[in-house]
Structure formats: C-alpha cells, structure tokens
Symmetry: D2
Subunit: 137 residues, 4 copies
C-alpha cells in the first residue's frame, strides 16, 4: 500500500501524518478483502446453511470497511464527527464479525484468518478514533 | 426502485416490512447519487476553490449512504447494533453535508437540490434508527 | 431520485441532459439494491445450497451497478472510454444475473423481481452505451 | 493484506491459487486508496482548477478498483466473462488516470505516487486478464 506516502504528500498534511489513522486505512482495506473472501468461501462450503449469519456479518463488515477506508483517506477541509462515527460503526462491525467467525475457526481456515483480520481492524479503528478531535457543535 | 417488493419477498420478512427502513434505503440511494453528482458539479464550477469543503462532505456522505443502503437491505440473521450505528453515522454525514450545501444554495442549484436530498435522507435515517431494537450485550 | 435535476444543474450540462444515461444511473441504483437484497434473501432460503451461483452473480452485479452509478454521474472533464467499458461490464453482469435468477423465478419471488430489475438495467446500460462518443486514441 | 491466505483457504481453491489474480486484488486496493487520496490532495491544492480532470479520473478509477477488488475476490461458482470485463475497464481507468496524474507529477508528489500506483495496477489487471479462461456462450 502507498497509503503513508500518499497522505504525507497531501498539501495540508505536509508530512505530519496521523500514524494511527494511516494504519486504520490499511487494515480497513485488508479487512474488506478478508470479509468479502470469507463470505464467498462460506458460500462455497457444503455446510453453508450453518454459516449464513457469518456471511451476513462479513458482507456488512466489508461495506463499512470500504466506507471507512474512503472517508479515512480524506484530509481536505474537515469532517471529524463523521469520521469518528463511521470508525465506531466499523469497529463494532469488525467486533461482531470476529466473534461469529471465531465460532467457525476450528473448522474453516478462512473464518480463522478473517477473525484475525477483523480483530486487527477493530483495534486499529479504536486507536484511530482516539486521535480524532471533535469540535463542539 | 423495487426495494419494497424485494424486501417483502425475503423468506424471513414475509411481507411484514419495516416501512421506515425501506424508505431509508431508497433515500440513501437518492442521496448517494445527489452527493456524487454535487461533488462533480462543484468541481466543474469556476469558483471551485470556494467549494472544496462542500466536495469533501459530499464524497464522505456518498460513501456512507452507499454503505447504509447495502447494510439496510439485509434481513438474513441479525446485525442490529451495526445497522443502528451506520445509520447514525449516515444521518450525521447528511446533516453536515446539507448544512454546507445550504451555504451555496442560492448560487448553485446543484447545492440546493443536494441539500434537500441530504435533509430527506437524514430524516429517513433518524426514523429508521427509531425502529431498530438493539439487544443487550 | 433527484438524478434528472442534479445532472441538469451541472455547470457543463446546463439542462442539455443525456436521458439514456440518466435512466441508466437510476436503474443501476435500483439493480444494485435488488441484487444486494436478492443475495441476502437467497441466503435466508432453506434451499440456499441450490442458490450459491445466484448469490455469487448477485454480489458481482451489485458491485458493478454501484461503480457504474458513480462513474455515470460525473460530467466534469471527460472519461468516455472508461464510462463505456464499465457500462459494458455492467450490462454483461446484469445479463448473466438475470439469466441465473430467471431459473429460480417460479420458486422465489425475490429472484423473479431481481431478474426483472437486472434486465431493465441491462437494457438501460446498452442504450446509454449507444450515446457515448469515444474519441480516437 | 491477508489476500493470499484467504483465497488459498477457499473450499474450491484448496491452495491452488491464481497468483496473478491475487496480486491484482492487492493492487486494486492500493490503487483505490491512492486515487481516493490523490483526488482529495488535488482538492487541497491552491491550483485546484488545473487539477479537475485529474480529480475526475481519480474518482472513476477508485470506483472501478473497488468493484474489481470485490469481484476478483470471489471463487464460488463462476463469472469469468464479467470478471474479465471489469478488469479490462479497470485497466483502462488506471491507464488514463496514470497518464493524467503523470502530467502533474513534477509539481505534485501525490500525483507522481498515484501515477505509479495506477501503472502497477494496470499491469496487474492486464496480467490477471490473461489468466481468465472465458467459456464460449
């Protein structure tokens, strides 16, 4: 990923990057891919009927990770409250998806790996949220 | 939009649709389109340099509306807390985007129309949130 | 949808809208919703194992409809060749999804409705493609 | 990115991964991020009015990279013709975006880095397309 270089090159950032937010963007991309692939791998399993809640949570999590990666990548102007809320929603989506994937981790490697990606992304979102200063309004 | 028909045909819904959530899905699609088009129209204006915060908020709002429309369209299994949080983030994105677009509404028709779409979507999100029951955890 | 109003208000369009492309944007939003909801409804069916190809095609089609709606909504500058190609990919995604959904239409209403939405979107994409002039390169 | 591990864990893949398509997924994520960030960095430049075509192409390219990453990540069932076409559209979006970003590369580091990300993604899409066997129809 060129995330670090790209954000550092922003005219308003000028090298003064928010490392926690950078890491969050990268892990949102990773988690979006993992959840998309896990939903599809679950769909390909013989026991798909036991994995439908897992697929549902995977798809929701991928949607939020994609939105968070986009919003987290913008530095022109300001939209702190929205960035905070989308990352909070994303952290929760990751948390519940990791929990569900964890239930199938011993039987399905894709669920085990996806649970790891979700937990890492949840953690990165939580750390990034801690760096966002929201103005009073 | 076939939203009403599609959700009513879901095996777990069986015609017992949540009207507020249906309306929210449709208005999220409408608002995503309006915000994408408003960002692009602002970019085409001679006075683009005065519209950069507007473009930023438009793009963030479109990302959240698209995620909300996807997540709001799922009825298999359950993901209530995540649905609630993404709609809250979406309502806030719509609120701040409508506020900013409103500042340019007398000069730019696209900002005026987009502000209307954002306010309608914010309202639909808020009403939909009111119908979501979140289990204790 | 505010699509007509939004595009007509673009500074470079000035009311001279491409009706076929407008219709295509709206039907892409409709088809994205239908495909997202059909994938989820299929997932909720007892006979989900017979619907896995349908879910796969639904998810791919939704991804392309969302991308097409975004790209089709931009009028600043020019990107005709890309717009043509994404609509061609989208038309093909709709065609194969309609064909697969059609196989399950008598048993599942969501597949019947989704097939209709896909066919309408395929047709709208094809008509829109016919209006795009691509410069030599 | 967990892409390699995730795809290898798919029940139909069983370790027999398509390396070119794996690489394409990762570079689509990288390019989506770079294009989103470049559009936003251009928007923050004083000379934004000279960068509006660049922003337009960046946003279109990000939309196609996101769609391609999603579609490229699925292995259940089959949708080869659609996968081929979306990667072709994506390669073209990357090509024209790299060309435009290249014009601003000496003045803006974000355009230089983004052009690199686009060229790498175009190359990865082209190589992946070469591995897709499309059935007659």
């Amino acid at each position: 990923m060129h995330t670090q270089e790209m954000i550092a090159a922003h005219p308003h950032v000028q090298g003064n990057v928010n490392e926690a937010l950078l890491r969050c963007i990268d892990l949102c991309h990773d988690c979006a891919q993992a959840c998309t692939a896990c939903a599809d791998a679950c769909l390909g399993e013989k026991g798909v009927s036991e994995l439908i809640q897992c697929i549902r949570l995977n798809l929701d999590c991928a949607d939020l990770c994609n939105a968070s990666a986009g919003i987290g990548s913008r530095r022109t102007g300001s939209n702190q409250e929205v960035m905070k809320r989308v990352l909070e929603a994303c952290a929760e989506a990751c948390r519940v998806c990791a929990e569900e994937c964890g239930k199938h981790a011993t039987r399905h490697n894709h669920c085990r790996i996806c649970a790891d990606a979700c937990r890492a992304c949840e953690d990165a979102c939580t750390r990034a949220i801690g760096t966002i200063k929201v103005a009073m309004h």
